[in-house]
C-alpha cells in the first residue's frame, strides 16, 4: 500500500516518544557532567607520564631521551634535560626531564610518542574533560600535571599496563641479576655506565639546538 512506510515510521517515533517516558533503559544517553559512561579500555585521548611508587618526582620513568619530542608530528612536546642524574626504574642513573610540557591544544592524539618511547614512560590517558578558561597557559600541561601513577595506568588500561609491568619486571630482574653478577669485578661497571651516559646526550643536545 502507499504510504505504509511513512505510517510505520511515524508509529515507531511515536512509540519511542511515549515509551521513553515509561522505561528509563530506553534512554541511551547519560546526563554528562554528573553521570559518565565507563571508558572502554582502548580509549585514548592525550598522553601522560607514568611514575612508579608514591612520589611523582622520584618515580618518573621518563629519562628525557627526547625521542618523543623529535617524533611528535605537530611538535607539541617540549623537553628540557636535567643537568644531574637520578636512578631510573631499573636502578640505573639516568637524566630526568627538568621540564616536560605538552601543549594539548596542539596535540592530535596520534599516540606516536607512546609507540616510540623505549622506557614505557609516556602513555595515553582517557581523560577528555579538560576545559579551561585560559586557552594558552591552561592547555599547556607541565610535567607535574602530566604525571600519573602506575596504579592509575592500571586502572584505565589494565591489560596494557600488566604487559608493561611484566616487561619492566623482567628487565629489572635482568638488571638485578647483572648487578649481582657484576658485583665481584667492582671497578668495571660504574665506568662503563658513566661512559655510555656521557656519550648519549651529546648528539641529542646538538640536535635540539
Amino acid at each position: 500500500m502507499i504510504g505504509t512506510g511513512i505510517l510505520k515510521g511515524l508509529a515507531e517515533t511515536a512509540r519511542n516518544f511515549f515509551l521513553s517516558y515509561v522505561s528509563k533503559d530506553r534512554l541511551t544517553t547519560v546526563q554528562y557532567p554528573e553521570q559518565r559512561l565507563p571508558q572502554i579500555e582502548a580509549a585514548r585521548n592525550f598522553p601522560f607520564l607514568v611514575y612508579d611508587g608514591a612520589e611523582w618526582d622520584a618515580g618518573m620513568r621518563c629519562v628525557a631521551c627526547q625521542i618523543c619530542e623529535k617524533e611528535c608530528p605537530p611538535k607539541c612536546i617540549f623537553i628540557e634535560k636535567s643537568k644531574d642524574k637520578k636512578p631510573d626504574a631499573v636502578g640505573k642513573p639516568q637524566f630526568y626531564p627538568a621540564r616536560f610540557d605538552i601543549d594539548i591544544s596542539v596535540c592530535m592524539s596520534c599516540q606516536i610518542c607512546v609507540e616510540v618511547c623505549p622506557f614505557d614512560a609516556i602513555k595515553m590517558d582517557v581523560e577528555f574533560d579538560l576545559p579551561t578558561d585560559d586557552r594558552f597557559a591552561g592547555l599547556m600541561l607541565d610535567r607535574h600535571k602530566l604525571s600519573k601513577s602506575n596504579e592509575y595506568y592500571h586502572e584505565i588500561h589494565p591489560t596494557e599496563a600488566t604487559a608493561v609491568d611484566t616487561a619492566l619486571d623482567a628487565e629489572r630482574a635482568k638488571a638485578a641479576a647483572a648487578k649481582a653478577a657484576a658485583a665481584a669485578p667492582k671497578p668495571a661497571s660504574p665506568a662503563a655506565t658513566a661512559a655510555s651516559a656521557a656519550s648519549t646526550p651529546k648528539p641529542t643536545e646538538g640536535e635540539s639546538k
Partner: protein, 402 residues
C-alpha cells in the same frame, strides 16, 4: 445552555471588548492608529512567544523520539532554554562577510521577518479577532508569501558564499515548485466558500450537523486538499523532510550560513513564523478556523482563540513528529513529487470540488461522497503506484525498533 452560551460569549470576546474599551478612551483623531496598534501588538507578542515555546518543544520532542532527554539544563525541565538562546543570539558578534553586498545582506532578514509578520494580518485567530478582513485575504497571504522567496534569494546572493548561493537556489526552486500546489490545494476551499476572505471561509464552515462540524476536512476533496496542503506547507516552510535548502549535513545551513548573531535568529524566527502562518491558513481553510471540533456545549463553551491555538499546536506537533521520522528527500525526488504527483492531484481535486458542488446534496449525500472519493482515489493510487520506485532494499535492523 443559553446561560452557558452567553458566558462563553463574554469570555470568548474578552479581547475584542477590551480593545473597544481602550479605543473608547482614545481621542477620535487617533482612533485608527490606536486601533491598529492595539491589534498588532498582541500578534507581535504572541507569535514570537509561540516560536520560543516551539523551539524548546521541538528539541525535547525530537529528543524523546530518539530516546534522548532533550534540553534540560536551563530552568525547570529546560523550559528557559529559548531565553538562553535568545540572549546568546543577542550578544553574539554580528559578522558580515567582507565580500558581502552590505545593503542587500542587511535587508534580507528584515524583509523575511516583515513578510512573515505581515501574513498574520489576514488570519482569524478567534471570533471577531482578525487584524484586517481583506476581501482578497487568501490572495494577500500568498502574495506576501512570494516575497519570502525574494528575501531568500537576497540572503543567498549577497553573502557571496557558494553554500549560501546553493542553498538559496535550492530554496527558491523548492518554494516555487511547492507554491503552485499550495495555492491549488487551497482553491477547493475557496471555491466551496465562494470567497477569498479568510473570515468568510471560516464562517462558511461554522455550524454543525448534529454534533458533526461542517469543516471542509470532512469531505472527500477536503481530505485530499488538506493532505496536499500539508505536504506543500511542509515544503514551503523548508521543514524536514523537505529541508534541502538548509540541509545541515551538506550545505550547513543553506542561504543563511553567512549570518550570525541576531540576524541568524531573525531568519530562524521568520522560518517558524512562516510555518505557523501556513499552518494557520491550513486551519482556516480546512479545519474550520477557530470553531470547536464538536458541536456539544462542553466544547463550544471554550473560547474560540483557545481552539485556534490548540489546532495550531496540533499542527506544530505534527510537524515535529514528521521531522523526527522522515529522512531528507533527494532533489529530483522533491521536484518529481511536486510536479508529477501533487500538482496533478491538486488539479483533479479542483475538478472534484466542482463535481461536489453540482451533484445534488440532499437525498443522496452518501452517493455523492462515494463518487467524489472514487474519482480522487483511483488516480491517486495509479499515480503513486507508477511513481513508486521498484527497488529491493535490504531490511535494516535497529536496536529498539524490533
Amino acid at each position: 445552555m443559553i446561560v452557558a452560551a452567553v458566558n462563553a460569549g463574554s469570555v470568548d470576546q474578552v479581547f475584542v471588548l477590551a480593545k473597544h474599551a481602550l479605543l473608547a478612551r482614545t481621542p477620535d483623531a487617533l482612533q485608527p492608529l490606536a486601533s491598529a496598534i492595539i491589534s498588532i501588538i498582541p500578534l507581535l507578542v504572541v507569535f514570537p512567544s509561540l516560536f520560543a515555546i516551539t523551539t524548546v518543544l521541538e528539541r525535547k520532542g525530537l529528543g524523546r523520539m530518539q530516546n534522548r532527554l532533550g534540553p534540560n539544563r536551563v530552568g525547570p525541565f529546560g523550559l528557559l532554554q529559548p531565553a538562553a538562546d535568545g540572549i546568546k543570539a543577542l550578544i553574539k558578534e554580528d559578522v558580515v562577510p567582507a565580500a558581502a553586498d552590505q545593503l542587500v545582506h542587511f535587508f534580507a532578514p528584515v524583509i523575511f521577518v516583515a513578510a512573515a509578520f505581515v501574513a498574520y494580518a489576514v488570519l482569524p485567530i478567534g471570533r471577531n479577532m482578525v487584524l484586517v478582513n481583506l476581501n482578497a485575504g487568501v490572495l494577500f497571504f500568498f502574495a506576501v508569501g512570494s516575497v519570502v522567496e525574494l528575501s531568500v534569494f537576497m540572503a543567498g546572493w549577497s553573502s557571496r558564499s557558494k553554500y549560501s548561493l546553493l542553498g538559496a537556489m535550492r530554496a527558491i526552486a523548492q518554494m516555487i515548485s511547492y507554491e503552485v500546489p499550495l495555492v491549488l490545494a487551497s482553491v477547493p476551499a475557496i471555491m466551496q466558500a465562494g470567497s477569498l476572505s479568510t473570515v468568510d471561509i471560516v464562517n462558511a464552515q461554522a455550524g454543525y450537523t448534529g454534533i458533526w462540524p461542517h469543516w471542509y476536512l470532512f469531505t472527500p476533496w477536503g481530505i485530499v486538499g488538506f493532505g496536499l496542503f500539508l505536504i506543500a506547507a511542509t515544503a514551503e516552510s523548508n521543514r524536514s523532510p523537505f529541508d534541502l535548502p538548509e540541509g545541515e549535513s551538506e550545505i550547513i545551513a543553506g542561504y543563511f550560513i553567512e549570518y550570525s548573531g541576531f540576524k541568524f535568529a531573525l531568519f530562524f524566527l521568520a522560518e517558524y513564523l512562516g510555518m505557523f502562518a501556513t499552518s494557520a491558513l491550513g486551519i482556516t481553510l480546512f479545519l474550520g478556523g477557530w470553531s470547536a471540533p464538536l458541536g456539544i456545549s462542553l466544547f463550544t463553551v471554550v473560547p474560540s482563540y483557545i481552539w485556534f491555538f490548540a489546532k495550531l499546536l496540533g499542527f506544530i506537533c505534527f510537524f515535529i513528529w514528521i521531522r523526527g521520522t522522515l529522512p531528507r528527500l533527494r532533489m529530483d525526488q522533491l521536484m518529481g513529487f511536486a510536479w508529477k504527483f501533487i500538482l496533478p492531484m491538486a488539479l483533479l481535486n479542483i475538478f472534484v470540488t466542482g463535481l461536489w458542488r453540482f451533484l445534488p446534496a440532499s437525498p443522496l449525500n452518501s452517493i455523492r461522497w462515494i463518487v467524489c472519493a472514487a474519482v480522487l482515489a483511483a488516480p491517486c493510487v495509479v499515480l503513486s503506484m507508477s511513481l513508486k520506485q521498484k527497488k529491493k532494499l535490504l531490511i535494516r535492523t535497529y536496536h529498539f525498533a524490533e
